[in-house]
């Protein structure tokens, strides 16, 4: 790498302002910026290179919208659906942001596919880029995990049943399958623990890994340098280079703009739907995963039965490993796609099969009239649900029941009646549990004897008077009953 890239260029057309010099001396921000913007691209800027930046933009957008959605979302099976409904129907821009977040996942899958295709067609994984490729494969895996875990969070019918099927596949893993499934679900059945686990994966663990591996991916990319066009040498670039800034940056920014505009238009005009709350006992519901998981779903239908282990776990696992190993067996300097028929044809075949399976799934659903009718019913139920006004969840905040005497002692019962009838509960709590106005009375028997308590009731200490404790107007029998009740509080 040329050393000149790191030095502050003397021929810089715009000298640094005083403040920038001051800031740069203390932070090195300007050198960092130069380092980022002066990345040399062999052969110059191209539209084919925009997908990586597009993914980075989409990821940032998902993080930001996700954080904001968490302002109202509650990950618990009895509140999740209500809170998503509240976001969608009540909170300003809620439906729009939820749509941006949900469609953003689809956009990431699409742009990931384009990013991967470009890398494979251009042979950009060649040269010292094996780890760069592997970190990318891991990022793909993490992103698919994000899509899978995020799907359950709204806890509507679609989310619940699709995730139930998704976690069922895991039980096919030999030996540890059922333990693995239990670990992921938090129980043998889908439930509120499943939701908590998916939430933690979706919001803490996977994003943490994604941030770490995105940083690694970018670091490795800058270390190896851009591969350039497919006629460029992957080890020692020879084509004249162009800096990332300004041309490639403009292209990348335009790509981000197109992505966000497309997302915003779809989110605004075709907002995402929320279906009715999940009813686990519903036996008629036909779950369907997101479209990008549909081919996998169709494949599992094909290889069902005794082939499910081989077809559902072993074959996809082998394919994934083969995919990750591409830079280890496709070596050499040749990068032009027509000179690398094995990899390019293999990838094309895989994409064609995957798309074909997806199409087959749609075809199967459309040609079976029963399934088609049920799917239409489910869709209509979602549309109907979205039209209903938001119904708040009725919280059980009925005032605590009048304190019941803990024993059958008539004296304590009488004391409880006196306590409830007097103003005592206003400050000490209806069960003597204490409020911010006065201390708790529970356990007072350990502090004062019955006589001392009776004395205090009629002869208030200065602290009690300052605290607003009124004088007690009770005869001897009533005082004894009240003291008995107070001493019974535990």
């Amino acid at each position: 790498m040329p050393e000149t890239r790191y030095a502050l260029p003397k021929d810089n057309p715009r000298p640094l302002s005083g403040f920038m010099t001051w800031l740069d001396r203390r932070t090195g921000v300007y050198s960092l910026l130069r380092e980022a913007l002066d990345e040399p691209i062999p052969g110059g800027a191209r539209w084919a290179y925009i997908f990586g930046s597009g993914l980075l933009y989409l990821f940032v957008s998902q993080v930001v919208t996700g954080i904001f959605l968490a302002l109202y979302y509650v990950p618990s099976s009895d509140h999740a659906h209500t809170t998503v409904s509240y976001i969608s129907k009540v909170v300003s821009s809620g439906l729009f942001l939820r749509s941006i977040h949900a469609y953003g996942a689809t956009a990431i899958v699409i742009v990931l596919f384009l990013h991967m295709s470009q890398t494979i067609l251009y042979g950009s994984y060649k040269g010292p880029r094996e780890l760069l490729w592997l970190s990318g494969c891991f990022l793909l895996f993490l992103m698919l995990g994000m899509a899978f875990t995020g799907y359950l969070l709204p806890w509507d019918q679609k989310a619940y049943f699709a995730s139930a099927v998704g976690t069922n596949i895991i039980s096919e893993v030999p030996l540890i399958g059922s333990s693995l499934q239990r670990l992921l679900r938090g129980s043998s059945q889908m439930g509120t623990l499943t939701l908590s686990r998916f939430y933690v994966l979706h919001v803490f663990m996977l994003p943490g890994l994604l941030i770490a591996f995105t940083a690694t991916h970018i670091f490795l990319f800058r270390k190896a340098g851009p591969a350039g066009p497919s006629n460029e040498d992957p080890f020692h670039p020879k084509l004249p280079a162009q800096k990332f800034y300004p041309r490639q940056l403009v292209m990348d920014m335009v790509a981000s703009l197109l992505i966000v505009l497309a997302l915003a238009l779809v989110a605004y005009f075709v907002p995402i739907r929320l279906g009715p709350q999940a009813v686990p006992s519903d036996t008629s519901y036909i779950p369907r995963p997101e479209w990008y998981y549909l081919p996998m779903f169709q494949w599992l239908k094909v290889v069902g039965g005794r082939w499910s282990l081989l077809g559902g776990i072993v074959l996809p696992g082998l394919l994934a490993m083969l995919f990750a190993a591409i830079p280890f067996f496709d070596r050499g300097r040749e990068r032009r796609p027509w000179r690398r028929p094995l990899v390019v044809a293999g990838f094309t075949l895989f994409v064609a099969c995957y798309a074909g399976l997806g199409a087959l799934s749609y075809h199967d659903d459309a040609s079976d009239s029963n399934v088609a009718a049920q799917l239409a019913r489910q869709r209509n139920a979602e549309i109907r649900y979205m039209r209903q006004p938001f119904k708040p969840e009725a919280a059980s905040s009925a005032p605590p029941a009048a304190p019941a005497p803990p024993s059958g002692d008539p004296l304590i019962a009488k004391g409880a009646t006196i306590f409830a009838a007097g103003p005592c509960g206003d400050c000490h709590g209806t069960r003597g549990e204490g409020t911010d106005k006065a201390p708790a009375l529970i356990g007072i028997s350990q502090k004062y004897s019955a006589d001392r308590l009776a004395f205090l009731l009629h002869h208030r200490t200065p602290e009690m008077i300052d605290g607003g404790m009124p004088s007690v107007d009770l005869d001897q029998a009533e005082t004894a009953a009240l003291v008995a009740y107070l001493r019974s509080l535990k």
Partner: protein
């Protein structure tokens, strides 16, 4: 290396001009990208500022017939619906229905304007008396003795289909003027 790896394509007088155009393009595109998300995000996060929380619903006190020949205050427990974000809760509050001037019914909050204890109607003294600090009020809630700084708080009420309804509110305590607590 004697020559930089990045050879400028064209070094002409228009480079500076072209650069400032690109910079303007970047700023505007970047601004547009950020604004598309920033605007709904700000609206989303500031949503609670635009929710009208003072809009408490009307609660039923009872049939109007029960109060027609009212000679002294009648205590009633009402259910107050409160919306807490995506939850709704029902709280119970005590109110007094008292005969006002010219036969119109008044509904008083039982919350003492002094420190918030529940004021009681003491029949034999013909007065409302707060058990905590002895605030005393007349039959219509006018303050006559004790620490409270104002009369008992009258609540907004109406008669609909023969049912007396009230809008329950809390008012600031220890204040001479009745101001609702949002």
């Amino acid at each position: 290396m004697s020559t930089p790896a990045h050879v400028p394509e064209e070094v002409t007088a228009s480079v500076a001009e072209r650069r400032s155009f690109l910079r303007a393009l970047l700023v505007s595109v970047g601004g547009l990208v950020s604004a598309t998300l920033a605007f709904p995000l700000v609206r989303f996060a500031t949503f609670p500022l635009r929710v009208r929380e003072d809009e408490t619903s009307w609660s039923d006190v009872g049939k109007i017939d029960e109060f027609v020949s009212l000679a002294e205050p009648a205590v009633r427990t009402i259910n107050v619906e409160r919306t807490d974000g995506w939850r709704s809760s029902t709280a119970q509050n005590g109110v007094y229905v008292v005969p006002g001037e010219s036969g119109k019914l008044k509904v008083l909050s039982s919350v003492c304007p002094h420190l918030g204890c529940a004021v009681r109607w003491i029949d034999k003294k013909d007065r409302f008396i707060c058990p905590c600090h002895g605030g005393t009020f007349t039959k219509t809630g006018v303050h006559v003795a004790g620490p409270p700084l104002r009369a008992m708080d009258e609540l907004e009420s109406k008669v609909e289909n023969g049912v007396l309804k009230v809008r329950f509110q809390y008012f600031r305590q220890l204040a001479a003027n009745k101001e609702p607590v949002a």
